[in-house]
C-alpha cells in the first residue's frame, strides 16, 4: 500500500512568496472570470476595460496610485506590528481616527505657513492612529487581552464615533443630504505632483523606506523580531517583549492614522464616511500576501489600488465593484495554497 507523508522542505525558494503571489493572482483572475461568466459578462472585455481605466492614462494611473496610498501605509503598519507576532485588524478604525484627530487639530489651531500647518496636521493624523490603538495595545501588554478582537471591535466604535460627529457637533450645515464635517481650507490641501497624483504618494514612498529600515535594518526591528519569536531568547537578551510590542503597536497604528490624514487632505478634504472604503481590511490582505515585507507591500498595494479603481469604474457597465474585492481575497487564498507547495513536499512511501 502507498502512503503519503507531508514534510517541511529544508530548502525554501527565496522568491517563493513572489511566485505564490503570482499563482494566487492567476487563480483569482480565473475565479473572477467564472463569476463574470455566471453573470453573463465577457471576462476579457471587463478585465481589459478595468486595465484601460486603471492604468491606461496618466490620469487613471494617478487615480490608482492615490488609491494605493492608504492601502500601502496601513499595510506597512500591520507589517510592523506583525514583527512582534501581533495582529492589527483595526487599521480601518485607525484611518478614520487619524482623520478625526486631524480635523480636531485643524479646528482648534491656526498656522500662517501652510507647509508647517500641513506637517502639523499630518503628524496629528499619525498620533490619532496611535491613540486609536492605545487601549488594545495597553490591554495586550499588561493583561494579555486578545488584540485581534479588541482592534477589530475598535473599528465599529470609531466608525460609530465618526457618524456621531458628522451628524452632530461637526455637521456642516451646507452639506444637506450627505452628512459630513465642514471642508478644510484649500491652503492645506496636499499639492499634486503630476496629473492628479497627490504628493501623499511621495510621503508613502518615504514611509515605505522608513518601515523597511525599522523592520529590517534597525536595532529596534531586530529586537522586535526576537521579542516576537521567543520569550526566552528575549529574556536572555535583556529585551522587554512587552515594551517592544507596545511601541510596535503604537507605530503601526500611527501609519494607518497617517493614511487617514493623507486621504482627508488629498481626496475627501473633510471628515465623512468616505474617508475609508474598507482600505484597512484590504491592507490586511496586502500585508499578509507579501509575507509582511515593506517593499512587497508597496508593489502589491499599488496593484490593489489599480484593482480598486478598476472595480469602481466597471460599475458603469453594470458589473458589481465587489468583483475586485473578491479577486483580492482569492489572490491571498490562492497564494496560501501555492505557499504550501513551496514549503512542504509530499512524499510517497511504500508501506510494507
Amino acid at each position: 500500500m502507498n502512503k503519503f507523508i507531508i514534510s517541511k522542505k529544508l530548502y525554501r525558494n527565496e522568491l517563493a512568496t513572489f511566485y505564490s503571489f503570482l499563482i494566487g493572482f492567476l487563480i483569482a483572475i480565473v475565479i473572477g472570470s467564472i463569476i463574470l461568466l455566471i453573470q453573463s459578462k465577457n471576462p476579457f472585455d471587463v478585465f481589459s476595460l478595468m486595465l484601460k481605466l486603471s492604468i491606461g492614462s496618466v490620469n487613471s494611473l494617478s487615480n490608482s496610485l492615490n488609491k494605493a496610498i492608504p492601502l500601502i501605509l496601513a499595510g506597512l503598519g500591520i507589517a510592523i506590528i506583525n514583527s512582534v507576532k501581533l495582529w492589527n485588524i483595526g487599521a480601518e478604525g485607525q484611518i478614520f481616527f487619524g482623520a478625526i484627530a486631524l480635523n480636531f487639530v485643524y479646528i482648534n489651531t491656526s498656522i500662517e505657513n501652510s507647509y508647517l500647518y500641513i506637517l502639523l496636521l499630518l503628524a496629528s493624523g499619525f498620533i490619532g492612529g496611535s491613540i486609536c490603538i492605545f487601549l488594545p495595545a495597553l490591554s495586550k501588554v499588561l493583561f494579555g487581552v486578545n488584540e485581534i478582537i479588541t482592534t477589530l471591535l475598535t473599528n465599529y466604535i470609531v466608525f460609530g464615533l465618526t457618524i456621531y460627529l458628522i451628524n452632530g457637533v461637526w455637521k456642516d450645515p451646507n452639506s444637506l443630504n450627505f452628512p459630513a464635517a465642514a471642508y478644510v481650507s484649500e491652503s492645506v490641501y496636499l499639492p499634486t505632483v503630476v496629473g492628479k497624483l497627490s504628493s501623499g504618494f511621495l510621503i508613502c514612498i518615504l514611509f515605505t523606506l522608513i518601515a523597511y529600515y525599522i523592520k529590517d535594518k534597525s536595532v529596534f526591528g531586530y529586537e522586535m523580531r526576537i521579542a516576537g519569536g521567543s520569550t526566552l531568547t528575549a529574556v536572555y537578551a535583556g529585551i522587554s517583549a512587552k515594551q517592544k510590542s507596545f511601541v510596535a503597536m503604537l507605530i503601526g497604528g500611527g501609519f494607518a492614522g497617517l493614511a487617514g490624514a493623507i486621504e482627508l487632505l488629498s481626496q475627501t478634504h473633510r471628515v465623512s464616511t468616505g474617508i475609508s472604503q474598507g482600505f484597512g481590511y484590504t491592507a490586511i490582505i496586502v500585508a499578509a500576501i507579501t509575507g509582511m515585507r515593506p517593499l512587497g507591500i508597496f508593489l502589491v498595494g499599488s496593484l490593489f489600488g489599480a484593482l480598486a479603481i478598476g472595480g469602481s469604474v466597471i460599475q458603469t457597465i453594470g458589473v458589481s465593484s465587489y468583483i475586485s474585492d473578491i479577486i483580492q481575497a482569492t489572490t491571498l487564498f490562492g497564494a496560501l495554497i501555492a505557499q504550501f507547495f513551496f514549503s512542504y513536499e509530499i512524499k510517497r512511501v511504500k508501506d510494507d
Binding site: 507523508i5 507531508i6 514534510s7 517541511k8 463569476i35 495582529w87 485588524i89 487601549l135 490591554s139 493583561f143 494579555g144 487581552v145 486578545n146 485581534i148 478582537i149 479588541t150 477589530l152 471591535l153 475598535t154 473599528n155 465599529y156 466604535i157 460609530g160 464615533l161 457618524i163 456621531y164 451628524n167 452632530g168 481590511y281 484590504t282 490586511i284 490582505i285 499578509a288 458589481s320 465587489y322 468583483i323 474585492d325 473578491i326 483580492q328 481575497a329 482569492t330 491571498l332 487564498f333 496560501l336 495554497i337 505557499q339 504550501f340 512542504y344
Partner: protein, 314 residues
C-alpha cells in the same frame, strides 16, 4: 391610570426580554460553532463572513421558494461549504489560521454582497413564526414559548454539544487534539479528519445563525448587516471559557446589553442614537479586558489553538 402605566412598563419589559432572547440566540449559535472548531485547535476568524454567507443564501432561497425549511438548510450547507475553504487551507495545507480566517471574513462579506445585490430591499412574505401561537404575550414564559424554531434548535444544540464534547468518544478526541497534538497523534487519532469536521460543523452553526438573522431577526438583506456580530461571537467563546453553558450565559448577557441600548431612552436616559449603536462593542471590549484581568491571562483556551500540525519526517 396607575394600572395602565404599570401595564406599559410591563409591555416594555417583556419587549426587552424578547429582544434579549433574539439577540442572544443569534450570537450564541455562531459562538457555539466557533467553540467546537476551537476545541479541536482550529481558530476560525471567519465567523463574520460565514454568518453573512448563511444569511444571504438563506434569504435568497426564502424569497425564491418561500420554503423556510429549505432556506434554513441552504443557509447551513452553504456556510459549512464556505468554511471548508478555511479547513482546507489550514488543516490540509497547514497555512496560518489567523490569515486564512481573516480572509474568509473579507471574502464572505464581499461574496455575499455580490450575491445579494439584487435582493437588497426585497421584503420577505414568509417569516419564521413562533412555535407556539401566542398573541400579546403577558409574561416571561409566554415570551419564551413565543420564540421561533431556531431558538429551540439553539437550546438543543447547546445540550447536545455539551454532551458530545464531555461524554462521547468523538468529543474527547476533539478535546485531546485541541489540547495536545503530539499525544493525540501517538494515540493514533485522525487529527486532520477531526479538525476538518469540527471546522465545517462550526461553519454550519454560523450559517444557522445567519439564517436566523435574515429570516427572523431583521427580515431583509443589506450589505454588512452582520455588523460585527461574528466578532462578538468570537469574544463570547473567550468569555464562556470554551464551555457551552457558560457561553450561553454570556450570550444572554451580551444579548441583554444589545437589546437594552436602543431602549435606554424609554427608561429615562438621554443618549444620542449614534452613541447607543456603539455600546455593544464598547461593552464587549470592557468585558474582555476585565475577564482577562480576572483570570490572570489564563482564559482556559485549548493549548494547541492556532498551531498547524504535521508530523516530522520519519
Amino acid at each position: 391610570m396607575k394600572l395602565k402605566e404599570l401595564k406599559m412598563i410591563d409591555v416594555q419589559f417583556l419587549g426587552l426580554i424578547n429582544a434579549t432572547l433574539q439577540a442572544a440566540t443569534l450570537l450564541f449559535i455562531a459562538a457555539l460553532g466557533e467553540l467546537i472548531a476551537e476545541k479541536s485547535g482550529v481558530l476560525n476568524l471567519g465567523v463574520e463572513g460565514m454568518i453573512s454567507i448563511g444569511a444571504v443564501s438563506g434569504f435568497i432561497t426564502a424569497i425564491n421558494t418561500e420554503n423556510l425549511f429549505l432556506s434554513i438548510l441552504v443557509g447551513i450547507v452553504s456556510a459549512s461549504l464556505f468554511s471548508s475553504i478555511h479547513a482546507f487551507v489550514t488543516v490540509i495545507l497547514k497555512q496560518d489560521q489567523t490569515v486564512s480566517g481573516l480572509i474568509l471574513t473579507i471574502l464572505g462579506l464581499s461574496l455575499s454582497s455580490l450575491i445579494g445585490k439584487k435582493y437588497v430591499g426585497k421584503k420577505l412574505n414568509t417569516k419564521l413564526e413562533g412555535v407556539f401561537d401566542i398573541e400579546n404575550p403577558s409574561n416571561i414564559l409566554e415570551i419564551i414559548l413565543g420564540q421561533n424554531i431556531i431558538f429551540y434548535i439553539a437550546i438543543i444544540l447547546m445540550i447536545v454539544t455539551a454532551f458530545v464534547l464531555k461524554r462521547t468518544m468523538f468529543g474527547r478526541r476533539i478535546e485531546a487534539i485541541g489540547e495536545d497534538l503530539k499525544s493525540a497523534d501517538s494515540m493514533g487519532l485522525k487529527i486532520g479528519k477531526t479538525q476538518f469536521i469540527a471546522t465545517c460543523v462550526g461553519g454550519a452553526f454560523a450559517g444557522l445563525s445567519g439564517v436566523y438573522l435574515t429570516l427572523s431577526y431583521v427580515p431583509y438583506w443589506t450589505d454588512g448587516m452582520t455588523s460585527g456580530r461574528g466578532w462578538i461571537a468570537l469574544a463570547l467563546v473567550i468569555f464562556g471559557g470554551w464551555k457551552p453553558y457558560r457561553t450561553a450565559f454570556g450570550a444572554l448577557l451580551f444579548g441583554f446589553l444589545e437589546a437594552l441600548g436602543p431602549r435606554l431612552q424609554t427608561y429615562g436616559f438621554e443618549m444620542s442614537p449614534y452613541i447607543v449603536k456603539i455600546t455593544p462593542y464598547v461593552i464587549t471590549i470592557i468585558v474582555l479586558i476585565l475577564l482577562t484581568i480576572f483570570k490572570n491571562g489564563d482564559t482556559g483556551a485549548p493549548k494547541n489553538i492556532g498551531i498547524p500540525f504535521f508530523r516530522e519526517n520519519r
